[in-house]
C-alpha cells in the first residue's frame, strides 16, 4: 500500500531503509544528516522488521561494521556528511576491493575541512573519482527530490547486489533538510540467507561449517593475481557503464542553451528555465541521475544542438570536467556555482548563463 507523507529527505531515506528490508544501519551523527539515525532510533525498526540500528563509536567503525555485515550477505547501509564520509574512504576502498554490496549516503555540506553545515556539491570528485585508494568505482545516484531520496534506497540496493559493488547516494543539505511529499513503498520482508544465495549467488560468509569455505578479502600477495582481480573489476565497471546510465532531459527539444546540473542544483536550474522563458530564452537541462556512470553520450549528442553549455553545481567546478570530457570541444562549456555552503538562486544561474555563454 502506498502512503503519502510530508517528510524531510533524511527522514525519507531512513523510512525507505526500513521498508526496503535492510538488515542493518550503522551510523554516527553529523549535521546535516543526523535525522537519519534520529528517525531510525525513534522508529525502532528492530521491533518492526528486526533491522539493527547502531550508533557506532565513529564513522570509521560504522563503515567497517557495514563491511562485516555485507560480507555476511546482509543488506547494510550507513550515512554521513562530508567530513564523516572522508573518514569512511578506507572502508569503501576495501568494500569495493572485496566486491561487497552496500549503500552509503552522503548528505554533503560545505568544505574543505569541517567547513560549514550548509548544502554543497563539492564532494563530486571524492565520490566519482575515487576518494579511497586503488582502481575502483562507486555507483553513484544523485537524488533531486525527497521522493528520490526514498526511491534510491531500493534502487541502490538492487544495483549494489546486482554488481556486488558499493553504491553511494550523493545528496546534500538542501535535499536532506527540505520537506516534500513522498510516496512510501510497501514494506518488503528482510531476506533470509537462502534467499540472498538464490538471488545473488553463493558468496557470502554465513558461518556454516558444512559449506564450502569462503574467503572475503581485499588482500592479494601475488601481483599477477591482483592484476587479474583488477581486470575482473574493470570488466564489471564496463558492464555498469553499458547498462546503468540514468539521466533526465528537461525542455531539451529546441533548446538553444543547455544547463547540466544534478541534485539540488538541478532543481534550482528548473526555475532558471522558467525565468529564461519569461525573457524569451530557450534553455534546456540535462540532469545526470547517475554521476558514475556519467551520461556522457547524452551530453555529447545534446551538444550538437545548442550554442553553449553551462554546468551548474554547488562547487568551484568539479562535474564540469566530466561535461567537458563528454562534449569534447564541440561547443563552449563553462561552469557556475556558489560554494562553501552558499546556494545559488535561479536568478544568479540565469545571469551566469547570460554572461558566460550567451554574451561570452
Amino acid at each position: 500500500m502506498e502512503e503519502v507523507k510530508l517528510m524531510k529527505g533524511n527522514e525519507a531515506i531512513a523510512e525507505a531503509s526500513i521498508r526496503e528490508g535492510v538488515d542493518a544501519y550503522f551510523g554516527y551523527p553529523i549535521t546535516p544528516q543526523s535525522e537519519v539515525i534520529e528517525y531510525l532510533m525513534l522508529e525502532e525498526p528492530y521491533k518492526r522488521t528486526g533491522m539493527a540500528v547502531l550508533q557506532a563509536e565513529s564513522e570509521i567503525a560504522a563503515i567497517n561494521m557495514v563491511y562485516g555485515a555485507a560480507a555476511c550477505g546482509k543488506k547494510a547501509m550507513t550515512s554521513s556528511s562530508s567530513p564523516g564520509i572522508s573518514l569512511k574512504q578506507e572502508g569503501l576502498s576495501y568494500i569495493a576491493g572485496s566486491e561487497l554490496p552496500c549503500v552509503v549516503v552522503n548528505v554533503v555540506r560545505g568544505g574543505p575541512g569541517l567547513g560549514t553545515i550548509q548544502p554543497s556539491q563539492a564532494d563530486y570528485f571524492q565520490t566519482v573519482k575515487g576518494g579511497g585508494h586503488g582502481d575502483y568505482r562507486l555507483i553513484v545516484l544523485a537524488p533531486a527530490s525527497v521522493q528520490e531520496m526514498s526511491d534510491f534506497v531500493e534502487d541502490g540496493f538492487n544495483l549494489a547486489f546486482k554488481y556486488r559493488n558499493p553504491v553511494m547516494i550523493l545528496s546534500d543539505g538542501l535535499i536532506g533538510q527540505m520537506m516534500e511529499k513522498v510516496k512510501l513503498k510497501a514494506q518488503k520482508p528482510r531476506l533470509t540467507e537462502n534467499e540472498i544465495r538464490e538471488r545473488y549467488g553463493d558468496w557470502a560468509t554465513l558461518g556454516n561449517k558444512s559449506e564450502n569455505r569462503k574467503i572475503i578479502t581485499s588482500l592479494e600477495l601475488k601481483p599477477e593475481r591482483q592484476e587479474k582481480h583488477n581486470d575482473k573489476l574493470q570488466a564489471k565497471y564496463r558492464e555498469v557503464e553499458k547498462n546503468e546510465v540514468r539521466y533526465e532531459k528537461i525542455n531539451c527539444e529546441n533548446a538553444d542553451y543547455l544547463l547540466v546540473a544534478y541534485g539540488s542544483s538541478a532543481r534550482i536550474c528548473q526555475k532558471t528555465i522558467q525565468l529564461g522563458k519569461e525573457k524569451g530564452l530557450n534553455i534546456g537541462l540535462i540532469r545526470p541521475i547517475t554521476l558514475w556512470p556519467f551520461p556522457s553520450k547524452a551530453i555529447y549528442e545534446a551538444a550538437d544542438k545548442v550554442k553553449g553549455i553551462l554546468a551548474v553545481e554547488l562547487s568551484a567546478g568539479q562535474m564540469v570536467e566530466d561535461v567537458r570530457l563528454a562534449v569534447n570541444g564541440k561547443v563552449k562549456v563553462e561552469h557556475f556555482g556558489r560554494y562553501g555552503g552558499m546556494i545559488h538562486s535561479p536568478d544568479e544561474v540565469l545571469s551566469a548563463l547570460e554572461q558566460k555563454i550567451i554574451g561570452g
Binding site: V4, L6, T31, P32, I117, Q118, G173, L174, Q177, M178, M179, E180, K181, S264, R267, I268, C269, Q270, K271, T272, I273, Q274, I343, S345, P346, D347, E348
Partner: protein, 183 residues
Amino acid sequence: MTEEIIIAGFGGQGVLSMGKILAYSGIMQDKEVSWMPSYGPEMRGGTANVTVILSDERISSPVLKHYDTAIILNQQSMDKFEETVKPGGILLYDPNGILKHPTRKDINIFKIEGAAEASRMSNSKTFNMIILGAYLKIKPVVNMENVLKGLKKSLPDRHHHLIPVNEEAIKVGIEKVQSLQTV
C-alpha cells in the same frame, strides 16, 4: 497556482512548524509542496526562516530569491526580506519589536498584532497560528478544513488535545489582520 512564501523570525516563534502546517494543509488540498528551512545554529535562538511553496504543478527550485508573500516576525527579517517581495506581492508582519516599518510602495502590506493577541489569549504558543490565520485571510491558498487536517497531521498524537486552541488562534488571526497598504 503557485504561491512562494518566506516565513522569517526568531528561533522559538514557531516559524518552522507554521510552515510545516501550511505545507501539510497543501498536501490535504492535493497540492505539490516544498518546505525548506534555514537550519543549524540559528534554530537555537537566532533568526529562523523557512521557504514554503504550494503549487498545482511540480515544484522546481525549493530555494528562491523573490517571493509572492513574506511573513516577517522580527527586525532582522524585515531588513533582509522586505526587498525580496515581488512587486504587487504581499508583506505581512507583526509590529511587535519592529523599529523600521516597511517602506516599499509597490507591495501590499498587512499587519497582525500576533504577539499581543497571543498574550491576550494567555498562551504565547498560539502566536504562530494567529499569524497563519492572518495569512490565510489575505491569501486563502488552502481552505480551513484542510488546514485543520494539516494541523492534525503535523502534530504528534500526544498534542492533539491542543487542536481546538490552535483553531481558536487561527480564527483570531483571521479576525484581527489589518491592511495597511494596497497596490
